[in-house]
């Protein structure tokens, strides 16, 4: 054991400069108490070290990978590696996380975080093996898909148990929605972080570690872990999620009009088409075995082998829910198995499947309406549900070939470039393409709209309206501060700002500590809440944390994320709204036919949300008082200089 034992955290981070080849370690403990490490540490470092003139593809941009304090232990869901950077989708704060084995390996190698900066002269990869850290040549890997990269690195390093985080051709070619893939199928998605990695000529990160993770109070820690595990295991939700993963939401999402159909024109898949698209049928038919990650109580992943139909022979991983929304519904696909084929291709090319359907859906609707023609597309007919065309466009986006070069920009930028009134059909928040249908659930809508990373539902969006689970009134009041019937009512506007606020803390705590939100009340109110996480962290670190303390830390991080966006983008209140179509159009069919977001009530909800945070309601900017509350007076000074300090 080291002379100084660090509990839960390893107490050390790596800083690697790809331009100079410098590799240094530093004591990162200054970032624990106020930032929780992880994405909190990343927000602080990105804000402090980036200059105003830096852009996402500038060599001086930093990619900050983090394992998390609870990673490596048996805490429920302690398997998430996070990555934060300045991203090319919004131009500002970018963060994502992924279930992983490589996060565990990074931690066992002795590091909580890796900061990668600079740009390598030629393609390279990082090999981190305990104290030995190397920048290695990757010219022979450049151009390979993610699965081939994994295969090549395992062979080259003679270790078939290695875990690899890599980019595919999409990242290499700076496709704006490129992601990172862990091994073959788990992505750090959204925000275009894969393109930042490509801009650095960094093909892959490989970690292998052997150092133990220590915790301060083992008995107290294990007691809490087992209590949480037993509670999670006792729930029917766990059986359902364990059996089918997130695709188990299928029937409920159809019922509440929560699936985008044909680029969000409709909010559920027509029954006649839906018969062939139930993702649970796909699992029943093709499942070979399961796929889980360290600490997870649920084990929501699946490996599948397709034995018939047009995709016969495909050996791959079952997609999670998002592919049903982003590809199947959004693009009007009629073959269920296609969710596997599209997911597999996106993962292999390193294109984020969550957002691949964004630009394609926009193009399909524009083509349908005559805004785009074959002259624009290089002769390709882009018709709803054409599976071969979708696969072709995914490839063209990844390689930025032909018409794919436009789509690789994402729907918002593609519409800006094309013009012709096509921006109405670009369904995005802060230029981030969406599969989250927003107009049918108000809390889900608010959380997704205000997300600092631009869209997405994992940085503050509540799931309780979407889960279909009943909410115990007392429990809801105690935890969320809102009556249960209001919390689960998708049409209610009251109380939703408060629920989003709670989830902003919950999601940040999880993302910092390496916890998968599926093991928390994000999925079921009986799963882990902030009190549970505070107790686990207290026992693991030997320092006392409470929900109030986690709130303070998460809000410090959130205000820093806002400050990053204010420095590097023009994001403001105007960008905290759902896409135009979601705001303007009523739900056309289904159980909630005729439902439409009420602009005044949405504004009221947003005002309440800003008030809770101490942000100026006119523009969404944090005030000096708010920054100072979290010890960020120097940030307030900076904001004042650029004219972006909120009025008290």
């Amino acid at each position: 054991m080291n002379e100084k034992t660090s509990y839960a955290y390893m107490g050390k981070a790596l800083r690697i400069n790809l331009s100079t080849g410098d590799i240094k370690t530093f004591d990162n403990s200054a970032y624990f108490d106020d930032w929780l490490g992880g994405s909190g540490l990343a927000a602080k470092i990105l804000y402090d070290e980036l200059k105003d003139w830096h852009t996402p593809y500038d060599p001086m941009n930093k990619m900050i990978f983090s394992s998390g304090a609870l990673m490596g232990t048996v805490a429920p869901g302690a398997c998430k590696i996070s990555l934060s950077t300045l991203g090319p989708v919004t131009g500002g704060w970018a963060t994502g996380s992924s279930d992983s084995h490589i996060g565990l390996e990074l931690k066992h190698a002795g590091y909580d975080d890796v900061i990668v900066e600079g740009r390598s002269y030629s393609p390279c990869y990082l090999l981190i093996t305990d104290d030995k850290v190397e920048i290695r040549d990757a010219k022979h890997l450049w151009g390979l898909t993610t699965s081939k990269t994994l295969e090549a690195l395992r062979e080259e390093l003679n270790d078939n148990k290695l875990h690899v985080l890599s980019i595919g051709p999409a990242g290499e070619n700076l496709s704006r929605n490129a992601c990172l893939i862990q091994d073959k199928n788990r992505a750090i998605g959204r925000c275009g972080s894969g393109a930042v990695m490509g801009s650095k000529n960094l093909k892959a990160v490989v970690c292998k570690g052997s150092k133990p993770v220590n915790i301060a109070q083992p008995e107290r820690f294990i007691k809490k872990v087992l209590e949480c595990r037993d509670r999670i295991n006792s729930r029917e939700t766990t059986k359902t999620l364990g059996e089918y993963g997130t695709p188990s939401a299928w029937h409920h999402k159809q019922n509440i009009c929560g699936i985008p159909y044909k680029n969000f024109q409709e909010c559920r898949i027509p029954d006649e088409e839906a018969k062939n698209l139930n993702p649970m049928d796909i699992i029943d038919k093709y499942q070979v075995t399961r796929q889980g990650f360290p600490g997870c109580v649920i084990c929501c992943g699946r490996q599948v082998h397709v034995t018939d139909g047009p995709y016969k022979g495909l050996n791959t991983f079952m997609s999670q829910w998002e592919v049903v929304g982003a590809i199947i519904g959004k693009l009007g696909v009629k073959t269920g198995e296609f969710m596997l084929a599209a997911n597999d291709l996106c993962n292999d090319l390193g294109l984020d499947v969550d957002v691949a359907g964004g630009a394609i859906g926009w193009a399909m609707e524009c083509y349908d309406r005559g805004i785009l023609t074959k002259e624009d597309t290089g002769g390709i007919e882009i018709k709803w549900g054409d599976e071969q065309v979708i696969l072709k466009l995914i490839e063209m986006m990844s390689y930025r070939k032909g018409f794919g070069n436009l789509l690789a920009e994402g729907s918002a930028r593609a519409a800006e470039i094309l013009g012709r009134g096509s921006d109405y059909y670009a369904i995005h928040v802060k230029k981030q393409d969406l599969y989250e249908l927003m107009r049918s659930s108000n809390g889900w809508c608010l959380g997704t709209a205000v997300s600092t990373r631009g869209g997405g539902h994992t940085t503050g969006t509540p799931n309780c309206e979407q889960s279909g689970l009943e909410m115990d009134n007392e429990m809801s009041l105690k935890i969320l501060g809102v009556p249960g019937d209001i919390a689960v009512d998708p049409a209610a506007y009251e109380g939703k700002a408060k629920i989003v606020y709670y989830h902003e803390i919950l999601h940040r705590a999880c993302n910092c500590l390496g916890i998968c939100i599926f093991n928390t009340i994000h999925m079921d109110m009986n799963y882990m809440n902030l009190d549970d996480i505070a107790e686990l962290l207290s026992a693991a670190t030997g320092k006392e944390f409470t929900t109030d303390k986690l709130e303070e830390i998460a809000m410090r991080q959130l205000n820093m994320e806002k400050a990053i966006n204010l420095r590097f983008t023009d994001l403001a209140r105007k960008d905290d709204y759902p896409p135009k179509r979601e705001m303007n159009e009523a739900i056309p069919k289904g159980s909630r036919k005729g439902w439409k977001i009420d602009r005044d009530k949405y504004d009221g909800m947003l005002d309440e949300y800003y008030d809770m945070h101490g942000w100026d309601k006119s523009n969404g900017y944090p005030t000096r008082k708010t920054y100072e509350k979290y010890g960020l007076s120097y940030v307030a000074d900076d904001m004042e200089k650029i004219g972006k300090l909120g009025a008290e």
Binding site: N214, L226, T289, R290, G292, V297, C299
Partner: protein, 99 residues
Amino acid sequence: MDFELKDCGGCRTCQIACSFKLTGQFNYNATAIDIIEKQDNTGYIVRIAEDGAYKCDGCNGHDEPMCIRYCHIDKDLNELINTFKKERLITVGKESSNE
């Protein structure tokens, strides 16, 4: 001793738990149970160590082996551990008592 465990998802939580029982620290390299990804097929093999620095003693003295406590297919793993105990641990126990 190697076993097939059809529904194992390869999460390796059993390894982490086992290492904690054996060493008081979390380190899935220091474990008596190893989950090995099949190279020529889909799925995982469960390997239980009979010798070496970290060998399985069936969590003697505990109500339930640690690996089972943390497994989401605990019934299947329990069956496997019981087989291991019956077939191998008696011998291991004899060897240990002779030392």
